[in-house]
């Protein structure tokens, strides 16, 4: 049976430490470039800080880890790509980005409602010696192409290969998890197959306080967020135009 991998992120547990961002970059050979800044850097996983817009002493903050939301329906980036460099794998539901096909037009970045796609403004480079720490399961990308989260697909390959070697028909539940899930010290991120009713994520999405970002767009994202606080759940809707900016990257 086809899988539909998804994630459940508990905003109430997230401390904003950024361990997921570091783990992601290390796992996926994302280079730390000297000229990178907020707009040009590459962070497949990025923790945003949001607040409730009030002044002290009523001000409250929260952290929202943001990554590709793996839209399953009318996937905006796949829809607009003139190169067919983006596809949704029917077997896993993972939205894949093919740097080899990408021509660098960045239409997908404009189309993505979540700003979860990143452009390579430079060829990747690592400080001398650091290239030895590169992950052999992930190919580095070149200058001029777009990249994004693919749920650490190299780890999925590895899990499948182990299952084939052991003569098992399929990978075991929990055997394949992305690096950010593994790294989160607060245990705020859960990962699994949404099609499997016994999985944690399948149950988590029906919990009270569970929501998805910009659900009204109808793109069926596979990242579920959770918070018991009302004002946090309000961020699921886009901020009003001209309203007070309360999102900090």
């Amino acid at each position: 049976m086809n899988k539909r991998y998804g994630m459940s992120i508990d905003i109430d547990k997230c401390t904003g430490c950024g361990a997921c961002m570091v783990a992601c970059a290390v796992e996926n050979n994302v280079p730390a470039l000297p000229g990178a800044n907020d707009r040009r850097g590459i962070t497949w996983m990025r923790v945003y800080r949001v607040d409730n817009g009030e002044e002290y002493p009523d001000r409250r903050s929260a952290f929202v880890p943001m990554l590709c939301q793996q839209c399953g329906v009318e996937t905006p980036c796949a829809h607009v790509c003139p190169q067919q460099a983006v596809d949704v794998d029917p077997a896993t539901g993972i939205v894949g980005q093919m740097p080899e096909r990408c021509l660098g037009c960045r239409y997908c970045m404009a189309a993505c409602p979540y700003h979860a796609r990143y452009f390579n403004w430079w060829d990747p480079q690592w400080p001398a010696g650091m290239e030895k720490t590169l992950n052999p399961d992930v190919a580095p990308r070149m200058r001029g192409v777009v990249e994004k989260c693919n749920f650490c697909h190299g780890r999925y390959h590895r899990a499948k290969e182990r299952a084939a070697a052991a003569g098992e028909k399929d990978i075991r539940p929990g055997e394949y998890i992305p690096a950010c899930v593994e790294a989160c010290p607060a245990g705020a991120i859960r990962f699994g197959d949404l099609n499997d009713p016994s999985s944690e994520v399948a149950a988590a999405r029906h919990e009270a306080g569970s929501f998805r970002l910009l659900e009204k767009l109808g793109t069926d994202p596979k990242i579920y967020y959770h918070s018991t606080r009302d004002w946090v759940r309000q961020i699921a809707f886009a901020p009003k135009p001209g309203g007070k900016e309360n999102l900090h990257g």
């Binding site: 596809d87 794998d89 029917p90 077997a91 399961d137 190919a139 390959h157 290969e161 084939a164 070697a165």
Partner: protein
């Protein structure tokens, strides 16, 4: 008239050079360090492919065997050929690894799992690698001067190719043959990331 003949001859010469000369010029040729005979090992020692090109414990493919594999039989000469003697003198006795050149190495953005194809899908080695196991000599290694890839990826004359099209064709054919939901049907309907990384 005379001018037309010159143009025709020049055109033919140019096309001929491109047709016959370019494929030679684009590839650099290097001999393998040792003229290994797969045929002798298969016939006399009864070796199968997986005896030397095996899997590691974690299921990853070990590829070209290292020297200790050779040395486990050839610590001392087993036959009387000059090739074997020189191999032992040059590599086994000093403990020097032969620098084999890999015909089938894929580009770094390709994910390929040997064990999935060999153990799960029951493919024979020759289906992708050609009839290497019965060859008496190692072919020279031909490398594309521009991309650095081996010529075998494109399918040398009389050999199956290992291009993306070749993978896709085989997967589509096995998917067409298999009933819905079976393993071979799964092999067809996949996204880019199934083979790319």
């Amino acid at each position: 008239m005379r001018r037309n003949i010159f143009i025709a001859v020049g055109l033919l010469a140019g096309l001929g050079a491109g047709w016959a000369g370019f494929p030679r010029a684009i590839y650099s040729r290097r001999p393998q360090p040792v003229d290994f005979s797969h045929k002798v090992h298969a016939d006399k020692a009864g070796a199968k492919c997986e005896d030397c090109h095996g899997f590691r414990e974690d299921g990853s493919f070990a590829g070209i065997p290292t020297l200790d594999k050779c040395a486990s039989c050839h610590a001392a000469p087993m036959g009387s050929t000059a090739t074997e003697k020189s191999f032992i003198d040059t590599y086994v006795t000093p403990g020097r690894e032969p620098q084999w050149l890999s015909y089938a190495r894929q580009p770094e953005n390709v994910y390929f799992s040997h064990i999935t194809h060999v153990k799960r899908a029951q493919l024979k080695c020759a289906q992708c690698h050609g009839d290497e196991g019965s060859a008496d000599h190692l072919r020279p290694f031909e490398q594309d001067r521009v991309s650095g890839y081996s010529r075998d990826i494109w399918g040398a004359p009389g050999r199956p190719g290992m291009k993306m099209d070749d993978c896709v064709n085989c997967h589509r054919q096995s998917a067409a043959k298999g009933a819905a939901g079976t393993l071979s049907a799964q092999a067809g309907e996949r996204g880019c990331l199934d083979c790319h990384k």
